[in-house]
């Protein structure tokens, strides 16, 4: 019967897709496992000695690099992105928001290499000339990444704020609160889980960003001591060395990928739990 056939076909398709998903997980973990075993998880994560040719695989500088750069990006992204979202959702005229929102979503789609390039051409000379240092730095990466993730934060926060029932806002205004008081005390807490989800999304994007970081962060193997020092992240580590790595070295890069994977899985779970709590 045609019905049964169609159902079988769809089942095969679904199983293939699921198999692919599992394949990706499995492959990465299996390839990365030997290094964890040989070098030991603790040494891998906490040693700052990354010298693959000598068999030393410590990724602490990269982990710190990723953390610093992501943190910096979040500061900028949240500060400006959230402000923008609040303004567009609460204080700007409807028409302005209607035009701007698609444009902002467009900016989220601009390739990261373009952002990186702008960073190299515009931002790095500014940093070098006004603040000193090589210019390729944690600061540069944070600023560019912050700019890159702000469209995401703006778009998601905007949706979250606009989803707050009108009744909340009107009730507050009816009680004599000013608009800002309403925003600050009612709207933002009500949209909290959506906003946090957007921030976590942005954080995930910042952690995973590769090309822009390679172009502007300097890629040094030392743990940075100031925002003006160059830095290497987990992602750029993989990208920089992939071309010529082999054997143990290659597996170490997979192990980097595993660490990244786990970090992002944790972030994703947090995001889903936050959204889930709102809907549940």
């Amino acid at each position: 019967m045609k019905e049964k056939l169609i159902e079988k076909v769809l089942l095969v398709i679904a199983c293939s897709a699921i198999a692919i998903i599992f394949l990706i997980f499995l492959f990465i973990f299996i390839e990365g496992l030997p290094v964890f075993v040989k070098t030991g998880v603790i040494r891998f994560i906490f040693s700052s000695n990354w010298a693959p040719t000598k068999g030393n695989f410590g990724i602490l500088p990269m982990i710190i690099g990723s953390i610093l750069v992501t943190f910096g990006a979040l500061v900028i992204g949240i500060l400006f992105g959230l402000a923008c979202a609040i303004l567009l959702a609460c204080f700007a005229p409807k028409g302005v928001t209607r035009v701007l929102k698609p444009l902002i979503e467009l900016l989220a789609g601009i390739p990261s290499v373009v952002y990186g390039f702008i960073g190299v051409v515009v931002l790095i000379p500014i940093i070098r000339n006004t603040l000193g240092g090589p210019g390729f730095s944690v600061l540069a990466a944070s600023v560019i990444l912050g700019i890159m993730i702000s469209p995401t934060i703006i778009a998601v926060s905007l949706d979250a704020l606009r989803a707050v029932p009108l009744a909340y806002k009107e009730g507050s205004l009816a009680l004599g609160a000013t608009q800002w008081q309403t925003v600050y005390q009612i709207l933002i807490p009500a949209a909290k889980s959506g906003i946090i989800a957007g921030i976590i999304l942005g954080m995930g994007r910042a952690v995973g960003e590769t090309m822009a970081v390679i172009m502007i962060a300097g890629n040094s193997l030392k743990i940075p001591r100031s925002p003006l020092d160059p830095v290497r992240t987990l992602t750029s580590n993989i990208a920089l060395e992939m071309g010529y790595a082999s054997g143990m070295h290659q597996e170490a890069l997979f192990a980097c990928g595993v660490v990244l994977f786990i970090i992002i899985m944790i972030l994703n779970t947090l995001a889903l739990l936050t959204i889930g709590r709102r809907n549940g």
Binding site: T178, Y184, T210, F261
Partner: protein
């Protein structure tokens, strides 16, 4: 707030807040639009018929960008052709033909995680699996497969969301009229979910076009026009990256970036247009 001798009156608070917000917003928007305009200004003058349709010469120092354009099209097309039936079909099966249980939850979690994994990891995956182990080498096949794997979770999730959003009432109406499962799915559920599904696919197209980290390690960077899927090829994003990294030609780099941005604008516009038209055109579907 405890009793304080000095309290900022709410109205003043509001003024301060508004000023700060407007400041932050204007700075943000200025920066974002500055980036676009910066590229457009320097790149538009390079664009002409020759640039778009002739081959790069001297590693891209002269000539045009037709091979990266073709490479981008081939790679994106292959990824979409592979991932869309797989993704939409799975979404249909998971939402319509199975009951919600621990397995569907695990699959959904897996898909969500993969949707957020950085593209460099897919690049690593594709490089080791397709280029090296399966000996496909740097090729459109390797690149297309890797991109397909990358966008598959997103397509599954957006399709699933779109299908779930279809009201149960519609399904009941079809069933009550004697419709079989597949008839209900194909004649009511999918048409109603279609705008959402298509938007997910189109945005995945945008992602493929913008991708660099994943593609450069799987499709390589050949400047020749590919003649088969086993040929290596370069995409616009990769071309841009190489031009800037090696300092080959700033002019042509800007030109490439302009085309890239225009492509993204086109893709986003398409997504909006579809959503807009379907929402307005609710009456005209053919049963």
């Amino acid at each position: 707030m405890a009793n304080q001798s000095f309290r900022i009156p709410p109205i003043l608070n509001q003024r301060i807040a508004q000023v700060l917000l407007w400041l932050a917003t204007i700075i943000t928007l200025l920066v974002l639009f500055f980036i676009i305009i910066f590229i457009l200004i320097r790149g538009l003058r390079v664009i002409n018929f020759d640039f778009l349709f002739s081959l790069p010469l001297h590693m891209g120092k002269a000539g045009g960008i037709v091979s990266p354009i073709i490479g981008t099209i081939y790679l994106t097309a292959l990824a979409i052709i592979l991932a869309t039936p797989l993704g939409v079909g799975s979404a249909i099966y998971l939402t319509e033909y199975t009951k919600e249980n621990i397995f569907t939850k695990i699959i959904r979690f897996g898909a969500d995680c993969l949707a957020g994994i950085p593209s460099i990891i897919f690049g690593l995956f594709g490089f080791i699996l397709f280029v090296i182990k399966l000996r496909m080498g740097w090729s459109i096949l390797s690149g297309g497969l890797t991109l397909a794997f990358m966008i598959l979770p997103t397509i599954i999730r957006t399709s699933e969301e779109a299908i779930k959003a279809v009201p149960t009432a519609y399904r009941e109406v079809s069933t009550a009229l004697g419709g079989s499962k597949w008839q209900t799915v194909s004649r009511v559920v999918i048409p109603v979910a279609l705008p959402g599904i298509l938007t997910g696919v189109i945005l995945s197209i945008g992602r493929c076009i913008a991708e660099t980290a994943c593609v450069i390690f799987t499709a390589g960077s050949s400047l020749r026009i590919p003649t088969s899927i086993f040929d290596s090829s370069r995409t616009l994003a990769v071309h841009f990256y190489i031009l800037t990294r090696e300092g080959i030609s700033m002019e042509r780099a800007y030109g490439t970036a302009v085309i890239l941005i225009l492509a993204i604008i086109l893709v986003n516009f398409l997504a909006y247009w579809i959503m807009y038209r379907f929402i307005r055109r609710m009456g005209g579907y053919v049963g």
